[in-house]
Amino acid sequence: MEGLIAALGAGPALELLALSPPGWGGNLLRGLANSIQIALGAFGLGLLIGTLGAYGKLYGGPVTRDLLAVYTTVVRAVPELILILILYFAVTDAVNQTLVSFGYDRVQVSGIAAGIAVLGIVQGAYATEVLRGAILAVPAGQIEAARAMGMPPVMLARRITLPAMLSFAIPGLANLWLIATKDTALLAVVGFGELTLETKQAAGATKAYFTFFMAAGILYLAVSLVSGRIFGRIEAWARRGEPNVGGGGR
């Protein structure tokens, strides 16, 4: 095995990727952990905003609807990188000005919190559209039946709308999750130590650009392949009990 590695000339590359300090593998994995943490947080926040937004767009008053239309249009038309910068500066400023006005000292907003907030707002706009479409796909008769039984709105959402729309929403949400994992790379531009930035630093320090960028690429690819599997499982679970429509009677 070692002879094979040496024959391929991969020995130095593996040494560079070792987990303990002379190698940079540990830094990459720490960056990956940060990336996944932010992606999870942003995806969760996006789901929350998306659910509220979808309900607002479908059942809200005219003003709510128009405001939500402006939100989703603007977020989808402006590059994420610029939104990240604007929101990053604006969120930091807003937090500090609130703190100062209450007589506290200024604080440095942590990179993780800012990253989650910013990407969450971006994800929220896309999630609003995905969930709105999914809620519309729920047969209207089921919702009307629940109303006719006198179910209060929150219980209706919890028991009927949300479970029934899940199978329609999962493919879109899986796509959003992949976008979230890849968008974390943009935080490298504002100097947050996620996988891409750690990779660039490691590559810059050792001049082994190909080794590190390839390694990071494999890590990202592994994340997307594994999450594809997981979402496949979740979709099968969300579709349990549904008749197989696309099967054509087979």
Binding site: V63, V78, I82, F89, A185, V189, K207, L221, S224
Partner: protein, 256 residues
């Protein structure tokens, strides 16, 4: 026009106009005349990169989609792998891999340094165009695969029955119908591509985003350049959406 004359919308539009006027009056715009030529140049470069990468990427996506849809396994496999890798890794990483990786590899070979291409290979934009083209081809190749598969078999069988050569079938029947199917998503993909262009600023290409960063660094004004930048991108997005709407209108309706 009538849809905008509802009372709550009139109030909201008035508020928005008020906000814009407030921005114009109370924020600092004195840097604008000095940087205007640079910004126009940046906008031009952004649009140029967008158009070139969309056209080249589309040209690459057609064989990719065709290979995945009907190709033999030795073509379909690599095409699928390419699309998976491109779609599974962040564009920023691909861009940096090409720019720093290839950029550090090329100078080691004397024959590259002596070649005619070397003046271009030393600049950043070829790497930006390459990375964005490959990325667009990866996403669009997947869409074209579905579009090629979606063309009804009867159309192709009819062409075959008429004795049409395979390439003519592709050119006259298969490709036009596939592109027609892909057209609605193509508009969305072009907007996504526009939103990916500011990444090229990280490898020193002076697009509109890089110009606004420079204004920020030179003058320490934070919000104004960013807001202007957001408006510029929104205008370009609007133009793309309108252009594709016109294009879709001109293409005849879906053949069933």
């Amino acid at each position: 026009m009538k849809a905008y004359l509802v009372p709550h919308r009139v109030v909201m539009i008035a508020l928005a106009v008020g906000l814009v006027i407030w921005c114009a009056v109370s924020m600092r715009w004195d840097w604008l005349p000095q940087y205007a030529p640079l910004m126009l140049e940046g906008i031009w470069r952004t649009i140029w990169i967008l158009v070139v990468t969309v056209v080249l990427g589309m040209a690459l996506a057609i064989p990719l989609g065709l290979a995945q849809a009907v190709g033999p396994w030795y073509l379909a496999g690599p095409a699928r792998l390419f699309c998976t890798v491109i779609r599974g890794t962040p564009l920023l990483l691909q861009l940096w891999l090409l720019y720093y990786g290839l950029g550090s590899l090329f100078p080691q070979f004397p024959w590259i340094r002596q070649s005619e291409l070397w003046p271009y290979l030393r600049q950043a934009w070829p790497y930006a165009v390459l990375a964005l083209t490959l990325s667009f081809a990866g996403y669009e190749g997947e869409i074209m695969r579905g579009a090629f598969k979606g063309v009804p078999r009867g159309q192709l069988e009819a062409a075959k029955a008429m004795g049409m050569p395979r390439f003519t079938t592709l050119r006259r029947i298969w490709l036009p119908q596939a592109v027609q199917r892909a057209l609605p998503t193509l508009g969305g993909e072009t907007v996504l591509q526009l939103k990916a262009t500011p990444l090229v600023a990280t490898i020193t290409v002076m697009d509109i985003y890089a110009v606004s960063s420079r204004v920020r660094q030179d003058t320490f004004i934070i919000y104004e350049p960013l807001l202007l930048l957001a408006v510029v991108y929104m205008v370009i997005t609007g133009i793309i959406v309108l252009a594709f709407r016109q294009l879709e209108k001109r293409v005849p309706a879906q053949v069933v």
